[in-house]
């Protein structure tokens, strides 16, 4: 086993998250898929930090986590307010800007 295993696993997890974003309709589940993609990128960063022997990768992964936390708070608040006005959490129903 080499570090390549971690990198390939991260790539596969990222892909699964991307497929989820494309396939799912529930806005909250789409959001969870984005979280999975962020997590897989973090795994890549940590792996490369170990491979190159520098701590910077871990610092960047830490910042990704902070930004993800902020993003989740705001995103879920947006989903809440969309739900309040449209009574639906489906991404297909929020289409007022379509035409």
């Amino acid at each position: 086993m080499t570090l390549t295993n971690y990198l390939v696993l991260a790539a596969v997890l990222f892909t699964i998250g991307a497929i989820g974003v494309l396939v799912r309709r529930n806005a909250i589940v789409v959001f969870m898929c984005i979280e999975l993609m962020l997590n897989s990128v973090n795994l890549t960063l940590v792996t490369f930090a170990r491979a190159t022997g520098t701590i910077d990768g871990q610092i960047i992964a830490f910042f990704v986590m902070v930004v993800a936390a902020a993003e989740v708070v705001v995103g879920l608040a947006i989903i809440m307010s969309i739900y309040r006005t449209r009574r639906s959490a489906s991404v297909d129903d929020a289409n007022l800007l379509k035409y």
Partner: protein, 284 residues
């Protein structure tokens, strides 16, 4: 610990780490796939927690114990709980529609995904074939992981760290602004208006609770009318309809094997057997 010791060996990846990887990688993958393909959003959230815990262990194995702890505390502890809160607020029953808005989108997404994974995976596998594991002993020294991160965070990345605090406060204020419901001053109804409005409706009294005259202590059991019928308005919302074992009514229980004891307990409560039994109604 053996895993950590094996990982700390330097350029060599130990057996412990290999075993841990091959045990946890399927767990992480299964969690991710389960999240995408489960129809219930709560199940999706729990699958994602599973996946994130496996990733947290990977961080710890890969000489990042601080990130592993943060992953478990912040991601699975805080963010996923936030997700579950919003799921419960929005309504668990807001399940995904199976209707495809764009025809063939699902198939196209899966083909695209498999192709992407193949290309990126193969590219990474080729590019990092002889990747040397330098290890973090050079930067960490004997201090360990947390002092090394702190040293870097408060020197090289100090500006980014400070900007992060601005980001966090902005996010908190933004969430409050978005979630806040604006009310016109004076539009709030007084107690007097509320009670007048209530008594003008057809049902001024409260709805019967599920426990009224019920013969089971489950919230899923509906309340009973005095004649033994089911009070339709007492069905609990948000509970899936299900069969609940209820105590038989005293008159009917005489044929049952446990009739005696139940009858006794009913006698002490004061029996409510009445018209329903005379009409031959059989309670659920």
């Amino acid at each position: 610990m053996t895993v950590l010791a094996a990982a700390a060996g330097g350029a060599q990846i130990g057996t412990g780490e290999t075993v841990a990887f091959w045990l946890l990688a399927p767990v992480a993958l299964a969690g991710a796939l389960g999240m995408v393909f489960s129809r219930n959003a709560v199940h999706s959230a729990l699958f994602l927690v599973n996946s994130m815990l496996a990733l947290g262990v990977f961080y710890v194995i890969q000489q990042a114990p601080f990130l592993g702890a943060v992953q478990i505390i912040v991601y699975t502890g805080a963010i996923m709980i936030l997700f579950l809160f919003v799921l419960m607020l929005v309504g668990r029953d807001s399940a995904d529609s199976v209707v495809e808005t764009l025809r063939g989108q699902r198939l196209a997404a899966i083909v695209l995904g498999v192709g992407f994974a193949g290309l990126v995976g193969a590219g990474i596998a080729r590019a990092t074939e002889g990747l040397v594991v330098t290890g973090l002993e050079g930067v960490q020294g004997t201090d360990g992981n947390v002092p090394a991160i702190a040293r870097s965070l408060f020197t090289d990345y100090l500006l980014a760290f400070e900007v992060t605090s601005a980001l966090l406060i902005t996010a908190a204020v933004g969430a409050m602004v978005l979630a806040h419901i604006e009310r016109e001053p004076g539009s709030r109804q007084t107690q007097r208006e509320l009670s007048r409005a209530r008594f003008l409706t057809e049902r001024p009294q409260t709805l019967p609770g599920p426990g009224v005259y019920a013969r089971a202590n489950s919230i899923a059991a509906p309340g009973r009318l005095p004649d033994g019928g089911i009070a339709e308005s007492s069905f609990a919302t948000g509970v899936e309809p299900q069969d609940v074992d209820e105590m038989p009514r005293p008159g009917l229980s005489e044929t049952g094997p446990r009739g005696r004891a139940i009858e006794d307990s009913d006698a002490s409560l004061g029996s409510t057997s009445g018209t329903g039994q005379q009409r031959g109604e059989t309670p659920r």
